[in-house]
Amino acid sequence: MAAKVKAKQQNAVAQGTTQNRIDAGLFPFLLILPAIIVIVLVIAFPLLYSLYVSFTPYELLRPNSLNFTLGKALRNYQKLLNDDVFWRSLWNTVIFLAITVNLSYLLSLALSQLLARVTVGQSILRTLLMVPMMFAPILVGMQFRWFFNANVGLVNNFLISVGLIQEQGQIAWLVDVPLGMISIIIASIWMNIPVLTIILLAGTLSLPAETFEAAEVDGASGWQKFRFITFPLLAPFSYIALTIMSLDIARAFDIVRIMTDGGPARRTEMLWTYITRLAIEDTKFGLGSAMAWITVSLSVLFTLYFFRQLVKARIVR
């Protein structure tokens, strides 16, 4: 399997460098057109519409409020900038993303190096690795909400069983502020690990064996080989992994919504849950849309950043 992946990758590299794309006039545009039409109808146009809505004081229960007045256009954005919960949800999201993305990546990197060395039961281990992929994000949320439940949750029950905490001293995982965040982060990392590890493992197995042999002859230690050979050569794979993760990161919304729903007292509120609260629960669509637009801009910038890194890493290779 390892040899196969490797051969495929090398083959791929060889092809990629010699491949030339063909000129075919309008034909490629015709191929792309249907996809573009659907994306414009379902994503681009609705987003523009929500930009318009974000400039109005629209509330769902007051249909007449969907009107645009130039002087009041930025009122929703002003409201958000003066809203403590907005800043807290932005801050929480940034912290959440920073910790989740970095830890998911580091753990997956370690796990991929571990798996690359395994000699017994490779295929069973890979299947085990894919088990979290079978869970919808919402299931991940439900599952961890149950595990972290103060009264009937597995985590507390386990801690009591091994005598680390008393039966009266159950830890309120999802209610306490930093613990709530930690619980959400653990659940998200659990969900992210498989895809990241699979990509990094494929990358590791595709690296040229000769380089490692040469390094071993020179007496390089295991850590040195990782630091100066594996890690730099993995860069393109790292960025693919991070790009895919950044595209999917909003799936964490499902987890947050289920596990804490922004509570207690909006302390674990994140951008996604706060949008839902403003627009769906409080029916303030104008305000919610303004919030949504801030979120969309941040997501797109975040993804764009990883894409550019990906392009750069590709050139180096």
Binding site: A24, V38, V131, T295
Partner: protein, 289 residues
């Protein structure tokens, strides 16, 4: 100078690494096994303290309750409706998204044209839009045209959401097909379309199946948009359906676990089917631009 570990030393190291890997991965998979097990245990074992770690008795009660085979259970969950809606929305959207995404991916993989990078980036970035942000305007617009609370409306949204990733994957798969075949087809007088349809598309079938499964699962698992667009069982799919097991202060964890197991079936099939194609599909398209 040469400090290479050889012989018994290396073999001992291998054993340690193997053991560590097994322990780590079993721990990673453990939560999932717990959920699956919960679906088949009696309630008395689930909600007790101290917890019963090893199941003593297995039962299909949860499923009997779910499918209305237990006369004592009055209120039941509309699992048939969720199943129907999930299958319709995911099935229809997968067929359409994969068709359109494949065409687009082929164009990006094979042809040189203006705005190549810009269009590719634009399509990919549309994927970065969080579902919550999209759900608000879609709710308002779909309300006007009668597409809210409608499985077809939902499928339409999932088509758009799934096109970018499908295009990306297919772009990668098409690049793995040697170009010589297509070139000789051109020499034999094939047009662009028939070269695509007769030669490249059949060769990309393994990739196509991978992309299809990805699209299907993304729709199957989607929650943010359906939770805003679907009001009742006419359009609710499995993910919002899970909430049928929660009441204000209590949650029927076993019922939820039982439905989760049903929800997982397509994903399990996916892991079995595409384990191999997955890796090359995910990495290739992105490495070579």
């Amino acid at each position: 100078m040469i400090t290479r570990s050889v012989g018994p030393n290396r073999r001992r190291n291998d054993r340690i690494w193997n053991a560590v890997a097994w322990v780590v991965l079993l721990a990673l998979a453990l939560p999932a096994f717990w959920i699956i097990m919960t679906a088949f245990r009696p309630n008395s074992e689930i909600n007790t303290f101290p917890p019963v770690w090893i199941p003593q008795r297995l039962t299909l009660e949860a499923y009997a309750n779910m499918f209305g085979l237990n006369p004592e259970v009055q209120q039941r969950v509309a699992v048939e409706a969720y199943l129907r809606n999930s299958l319709l929305a995911s099935g229809i959207s997968t067929v359409v998204a994969v068709s359109l995404g494949t065409l687009a991916g082929y164009a990006f993989a094979r042809f040189r044209f203006r705005f190549h990078t810009g269009l590719f980036l634009g399509i990919m970035l549309s994927r970065a839009v969080p579902g919550v942000a999209l759900s608000l305007p879609l709710f308002l617009l779909f309300n006007r045209v009668g597409l809210t609370n409608n499985v077809l409306g939902l499928a339409f949204v999932y088509v758009a959401v799934n096109i970018p990733f499908t295009a990306w994957l297919m772009d990668g798969f098409f690049r793995q097909i040697p170009q010589e075949l297509t070139e000789s087809a051109y020499i034999d007088g094939c047009g662009h379309w028939s070269a695509f349809w007769r030669i490249e598309l059949p060769l990309s079938l393994p990739g196509l199946s991978t992309a299809a499964i990805f699209a299907f699962l993304a729709a199957w698992n989607e929650f943010q948009i359906v939770s805003v667009l679907a009001r009742n069982n006419a359009a609710k799919t499995f993910p919002p359906g899970l909430f049928a097991f929660t009441e204000q202060f209590t949650v029927d964890w076993r019922g939820m676990a039982a439905m989760s197991v049903i929800m997982m079936v397509p994903a399990v099939i996916f892991v079995i089917l595409v384990q191999r194609n997955l890796v090359s599909g995910l990495t290739f398209g992105a490495v070579k631009g």
